[in-house]
Symmetry: C2
Subunit: 360 residues, 2 copies
């Protein structure tokens, strides 16, 4: 069995896997309704929001499509600092919207002053998308400050929190996030197939008059079914049960702050270990992600080769992504990862790099 | 633990539940690729098709939305004989398409001559949707003959096979079905969250020029990733592993014909048992579904009350659906149902009906 240091799907907590093996219940039964409202309430506490929280029968990308369809009539601004920011722009275009982009070089963050300037230049956009944690480059953007800028300009704010929600703080109401979404298979350590997202009253209002928004991801249809303690189509019952289980574990073990501390500890243990081997991080210093370390592969060594050799040693890291596929590799710290596995992984990495001719 | 005679999610086979508890693998890993291509190949054999078979990270309803977005420019015809036929029309309208409907009274099937006549009256529709097995009324439509009519008129054919695929024969290529889809949580006895559907070359060709079709359900994006042995967004790994497991079991135990025989045997055991109690079926004789028995609640007895009392006895049936909520109740025979449970359920039903004053 490979030890997973992936960036999603990540290794699941044993309690979650146990929940995944449950026998089914009907998604219209009392048993499901209880599970549904309990899970939604725990997520609202976790995200510090009174907004609706929907449990989509899709991955997080379903929320990208939903945000664009429900809340953009003509034009939006997509902040791009890597492949998943680009994905947002692609999804918006595929849905017939005009897209402005604010793009920075790979490894650099979106900074508030840049966004402020850009929004002054394109005052006609209705919404702004921000990738909170760019999984492809291992970089985190200063969401709270960026949100303040977006709200100053009076725009709706969509946050792709796919690889940050559950791993680092997000205060939906205080920061003013209109659509903020993630997936089950990242920081919560649950298998894939479930989209998790909060939707503000302003976003719902915009949806009321949206044309041609489809059925599957229609926020108003979701809102209607939420009142009936369920989902429009069949709910992804096992993943919701798994999410319920891990949220319960978190609440019982000191709450979300302890969980974030655990992730931060793993993250720095990996980063320091890698730096001790003489390697450096891909993103600009001070903006490294708390959930994914993206590491520069040393000159002359192909990142894909590091990935492949680590697999042979029993560790599944993540390949570099997009244009930096060969020049980087990534080590995730989400999901179920015992500390002793981190140490073993770092030892294996030292061996692999030495085998590829790397001298510290 | 309730014994499930639901219409989805249904009780899962023990082998499937075991597979659901697996530790994750990355959806870009060699392990996943093997699982993916193996599952797709088994489905192609099961459906007797050379068409692409996609494993959607959504429920079956995602395929409704996809068929409409990818393959209808302006106008389609929806055949409606119950709530799920109506759902198709609703989805098409929500996606900005003009919809013609061919509607028959509840409990009656769509017949080939009716469809032929209707298609002559609306020659400008691009596609036709048919609900193979209408879950809400427990009725099966004569798909092979209907398909022949649709093809005679040269239209694309979308088949909602949500509660039939896996439970009764479907020959995709021979019958000429362009989009034919189902969900994991019905006849295959796998938990919900996975959409399963075949897409023909003609449907893919139509998608090439479709405008504003979005990203999440874009058949051309799916086709591109299928070549890379994966899915555009994260794959629903546990449900795919569960589906793989049950398809393997079916192949090893005499193939699909034996599986259909098993479902037919359960189905008639339930129907005959119910008829012995003096009750009758809701759909017109000769058109009863092989996977869902929809039963008329006797005069003066509320179907919802039958459902509620059966639950108290430990059996979860399904409530009536839509406008016939109170006048019917449903007993599904999909998923994991040992024969002794059928006998126990029928005995409990006799007791519940007697308690409600029903005399044979």
């Amino acid at each position: 069995m490979l030890k997973l240091f992936t960036v999603g799907p990540v290794a699941c907590y044993p309690q979650v896997l146990e929940a995944m093996g449950m026998q089914m219940v009907s998604h219209r039964s009392e048993e499901y309704k209880t599970l549904h409202i309990e899970t939604v309430a725990m997520l609202q506490r976790f995200l510090e929001t009174k907004n609706e929280v929907f449990l989509f029968s899709s991955t997080g990308s379903g929320f990208m499509e939903a945000s664009v369809r429900n809340c953009v009539t003509k034009k939006m601004l997509c902040c791009v600092c890597g492949s998943f920011g680009k994905r947002y722009a692609e999804v918006a275009t595929a849905n017939g919207k005009q897209v402005e982009t604010l793009e920075v070089p790979l490894g650099e963050p979106i900074l508030p002053e840049l966004l402020d300037k850009k929004l002054s230049e394109v005052p006609d956009v209705e919404a702004v998308s921000i990738t909170h944690n760019e999984t492809s480059t291992g970089l985190i953007n200063p969401l709270e400050q960026l949100a303040r800028v977006v709200k100053k300009h009076g725009k709706l704010l969509f946050v792709d929190a796919v690889s940050s929600m559950g791993g680092t703080e997000i205060k939906v109401d205080k920061w003013g996030l209109d659509v903020c979404f993630s997936s089950s298979q990242k920081c919560f350590g649950v298998p894939p197939g479930l989209g998790i997202g909060s939707v503000s009253a302003d976003a719902l209002k915009k949806s009321e008059t949206a044309q041609n928004k489809g059925w599957y991801f229609d926020f108003k249809v979701w809102e209607k079914h939420q009142k009936k303690q369920g989902t429009p189509m069949t709910s992804v019952v096992p993943q919701i049960a798994g999410l319920n289980r891990i949220l319960t574990v978190i609440e019982n073990k000191g709450g979300k702050a302890s969980f974030f501390d655990l992730y931060a500890e793993r993250n720095s243990r990996i980063r320091e270990g890698v730096q001790k081997l003489g390697l450096s991080m891909f993103p600009k210093s001070g903006h490294e992600s708390p959930t994914v370390n993206c590491i520069k592969s040393p000159a002359g060594i192909d990142g894909l080769e590091v990935y492949a050799r680590m697999r042979m040693d029993g560790f599944e890291l993540a390949e570099g992504y997009g244009t930096i596929k060969n020049s980087t590799f990534r080590i995730g710290n989400m999901g179920y990862i015992p500390f002793e596995d981190i140490d073993a992984m770092l030892e294996a990495l030292a061996g692999v790099l030495a085998g590829l001719g790397w001298e510290i």
